[in-house]
């Protein structure tokens, strides 16, 4: 449910070679996007363990972004193919236990796509504002 004045808590796992570089490019091009997202650098989208995702939600994330290279262009050749499967299964499972699947967003962003990265963050932030806060936000043990 949308809540007045709600500023979503967002975390993004960005792969070093494509999406993190794309986010850097958004910076060098002075693109503008909302300041909600906190970026964690990983070598590959295939490095993202679903355990980290569910911990992020437990930590209070309203939305989690995983960004990697476009399929076929993974710096490590296959990492994003495995990530794609893991995230398909895990997002479905999270939806099943009541975490709206729109809160786990996966995007392929290349190192040249600064504008696209900025658009992704803006649209994800807007979407989360509409979705509202996660109803039960608990800080971890």
């Amino acid at each position: 449910m949308a809540v007045e004045g709600f500023s979503p808590r967002m975390v993004g796992f960005l792969c070093n070679w494509c999406s993190y570089a794309g986010a850097d490019m958004a910076g060098t091009s002075r693109m503008s996007y909302p300041a909600n997202i906190r970026i964690i650098r990983v070598p590959c989208s295939g490095r993202v363990d679903p355990l980290l995702i569910i911990k992020a939600f437990q930590q209070g994330a309203d939305g989690v972004l995983i960004a990697g290279c476009h399929p076929g262009d993974c710096h490590y050749v296959e990492g994003n193919y495995y990530a794609r499967r893991r995230l398909a299964i895990f997002r479905s499972l999270l939806e099943f236990i009541g975490i709206d699947s729109r809160r786990l967003r996966v995007e392929w962003v290349s190192a040249a796509e600064g504008k696209r990265f900025s658009n992704v963050i803006t649209s994800f932030t807007d979407e989360l504002v509409k979705l509202g806060p996660r109803s039960e936000v608990q800080v971890g043990a």
């Binding site: 399929p71 193919y81 495995y82 499967r85 995230l87 398909a88 299964i89 971890g140 043990a141």
Partner: protein, 289 residues
């Protein structure tokens, strides 16, 4: 089960033990309540008459094989259990040469409790289309024609999916609130053999020591994820849960997703790589599209 078939089980066990092909046969015996079943480890040929097989034999005995790697073991398995054997073979937890598999054509098992044998078949038997074990050395009973799979098989999952996210969240919050972190579900599962389970780790600490719904949620969600494409559907986890959490819902959900997305079912053979260890370059999974 017909008495002559039970006798076949006993005769086969006797044969395996006396010939030295195995030094233990794991099967079912009568529990101390006199009406239900319990796992039985038979080391001597003289004791094979204690082996039984009937509709109370709900246990999945395959988990015991993991600790007997390197030792020759005979085992009595129902079809669902036999799928777990394939999963463990695929993952190198047992060696095919070490096991002599007595596969039993199963008519289904009933709900049981202490000194109580239910009337109705367990839910999992009602949607089972595999009454003959998928791997065995000796078959007890005759294979029969199977009914085709139907959408109804996943009715419980579909019913949950039809609820709103808020309803689902409330439902599971209530379930996870009851969880006391006894880990009976993990202990009974053949696919849960990790030397150190993620839930027990202190560093990194994924699941806090507190027994609380938000911690329990992580335990159950990640366990279901770790079982995706590996769970043989024996449902023992749900049966042994002391607080009746419907764990089969989570595992069936994963099984259905794995079948829909990757065309894969766990344990049908021991060669095919589990889905999270494989990929198709052009597959469309609704991720990043």
């Amino acid at each position: 089960m017909a008495p002559e078939l039970v006798q076949q089980i006993r005769d086969k066990a006797r044969e395996l033990l006396t010939s030295g092909a195995v030094d233990c046969v794991i099967g079912y015996g009568r529990a101390t309540d006199g009406v239900t079943a319990r796992p039985l480890f038979v080391y001597e040929p003289e004791k094979v008459d204690e082996l039984i097989f009937d509709e109370t034999c709900t246990h999945n005995l395959v988990g015991y094989l993991v600790n007997r790697k390197g030792k020759k073991t005979g085992i009595v398995v129902k079809p669902c259990d036999s799928r777990a054997i394939n999963v463990l073979l695929n993952e190198g937890q047992i060696s095919r040469d070490d096991v002599s598999i007595i596969g039993v054509v199963c008519d289904g098992v009933v709900e049981t409790g202490w000194n109580r044998v239910g009337e109705a078949q367990q839910a999992r038997c009602q949607y089972c289309h595999q009454h003959t074990p998928v791997v065995y050395d000796f078959l007890i009973g005759e294979p029969r024609e199977e009914s085709p799979p139907s959408a109804e098989d996943y009715a419980a999952v579909a019913e949950m999916e039809a609820k709103s996210p808020e309803e689902r969240e409330a439902f599971w919050a209530e379930q996870f609130d009851r969880c006391c972190r006894c880990y009976a579900c993990r202990q009974v599962c053949p696919a849960c053999y990790c030397t150190e389970c993620f839930v027990d780790k202190l560093d990194p600490m994924w699941v806090g020591i507190r027994v609380a719904p938000e911690e329990n949620r992580i335990w159950h969600t990640i366990r279901a994820y770790h079982l995706a494409g590996r769970c043989s559907g024996c449902n023992e986890c749900e049966r042994v849960c002391p607080v009746n959490i419907p764990l089969s819902l989570l595992n069936r959900k994963m099984a259905r997703d794995v079948e829909d997305l990757f065309g894969f079912q766990a344990g049908l053979d021991d060669k095919e790589m589990q889905p999270l260890g494989a990929f198709e370059k052009d597959e469309k999974l609704g991720i990043g599209e």
